[in-house]
Symmetry: C2
């Protein structure tokens, strides 16, 4: 799993900072999370192939998380994309995008599917053999969801030495990976745990932005490997965090601690702060393992 931060600053795009967007590479899929203005240029800058992005998850309809989406969809069209594109986001997103395409007389040559969300309970929005994605209902000024991305490693790993020792034919390998015991030609039953190793741990990544401090998300993100949690303000501006329904660095660290997250990635900094190290300093009074997101940063998860 690899996370590439395309932008992680709040509010307005500037020459030196970009609004929220990130790419999660998980099980050879590229998931785009949020899409502020300028995201398509950031994707080009970081040499992320447009054709590898088939799923886009939008947290909420504030401009700094979503104004780059219509341009990206249009560019996909101009580049003669053929792959289906799936967009997950708040109810209303489909009409906003389609109205703009219609006004420009444009129609995508690829299939464009919108998965509109309106539940305030966590729900599965994507699932295939290798990955599952659930919403994390957040509390912000408008309807907002974070997303929990989780690997599915249900298959056990073959113990090559053991299967060779027992002379087991390759046609049984799938059965072993699925946890099955094997009966040899002489009738001996060989238990699965002699033929395979436990699956790799199922890693997980939770994206939580934008939100006020909210403990109701804890059961959903419990034990997550990496938690990205917004920290728009420092405690000195806690009153602004309250008023605008954002989180302080200390509050983000408290969520990470209470959720037993392994690592906290901080971001969505207000552009009023010149030095983002201050966020780390404040959060480390509560939680140790902290990474500061920054535009262009690649984080191995």
């Amino acid at each position: 799993m690899k996370l590439t931060i395309l932008g992680c600053y709040a509010a307005t795009p500037r020459t030196i900072t970009n609004p929220t967007s990130q790419v999660l590479e998980i099980k050879n899929q590229m998931f785009l999370i949020d899409c502020g203005e300028g995201t398509q240029v950031q994707l080009r800058k970081h040499k992320i192939k447009f054709s590898r992005i088939n799923h886009i998850f939008i947290s909420h309809l504030h401009g700094d998380h979503f104004y780059g989406l219509v341009g990206l969809i249009s560019t996909f069209m101009l580049l003669n994309r053929v792959n289906d594109l799936h967009v997950y986001g708040p109810k209303g997103i489909k009409e906003l995008i389609l109205m703009q395409l219609k006004a420009s007389g444009s129609y995508t040559g690829y299939n464009l599917y919108f998965h509109e969300l309106e539940s305030t309970e966590s729900e599965i929005v994507f699932e295939d053999e290798k990955v599952i994605v659930k919403t994390i209902p957040l509390k912000h000024r408008i309807y907002t969801n974070g997303y929990l991305f989780k690997e599915k490693n249900s298959k056990r790993k073959l113990n090559i030495e053991a299967v060779e020792k027992y002379n087991i034919e390759t046609c049984y390998y799938q059965k072993i990976k699925s946890g099955g015991d094997i009966t040899l030609e002489d009738g001996t039953l060989v238990s699965n745990n002699l033929l395979s190793f436990n699956p790799e741990p199922e890693r997980s990544y939770a994206f939580c932005s934008d939100t006020v401090y909210n403990e109701t998300i804890l059961p959903i993100i419990e034990g997550v490997d990496t938690l990205y949690h917004e920290s728009t303000f420092l405690e000195t501006e806690a009153h602004l965090a309250d008023k605008t329904m954002h989180t302080t660095a200390k509050q983000a660290a408290t969520i990470a601690k209470k959720a037993n997250a392994k690592t906290l990635v901080m971001g969505h900094y207000s552009t009023r702060y010149g030095n983002i190290e201050l966020f780390k300093e404040e959060a480390q009074t509560i939680f140790d393992n902290i990474i500061l997101a920054d535009d262009g940063k690649e984080i191995k998860l």
Copy 2:
């Protein structure tokens, strides 16, 4: 008059090029013309004060001319703008912008006026004491207008030496500037042409993008000082210009020549061409005085 090119490339924003947007400084006003994605960052980059932009002219609703508008309007809001903002553009633009603001639960603290256009005849869209702006109906795949910006220098210039010689009091200066003759205390009538000079020439700028080759605009732009005319393609791709309703370099030069323009500024280059000098070479076979637009270029008019 000064023109700052924020972006002048067709279709998709890239790391090295920006979609259409330019700022015309005329009689101490800043007019923003078109607003592709990323325009607000380009404005910051070129240190153009947001508060000086009170009028935005949008040619048409293709993304590369307009997807940056909602973000700019939102940023004005976040920066607590107080001045009125006027947006001129095709019918439908108001709903597209307001729907997005509404979805984000945002309301501008400043007055936001939309002047929606639907006429296919040239019409005056802005006029004050110093500047007049008219539409230039263009022919493109969707409803499109260029804009003609013209100085109004109706006032004559005071001949200081002469008014001092005749001992004329300052309260008569406005009358002289407006062309009036003066009767001295001894009853002598002094003709205005002895007291003032002709006004400065009224300079003009025509913005024409996007359009197919279209001679019906000639009477509107006749004698214009500076003509910005799109030249998306070279003649080798004339079939694409036809198909997509754009113009070749040679065609743009032909329009400039037939309109008796003094200078032609070329832009809206397709990103397929590596070297924009080719546009100048092709156009100079028809018309001499050519400036190639390029992102960040400042052109004194």
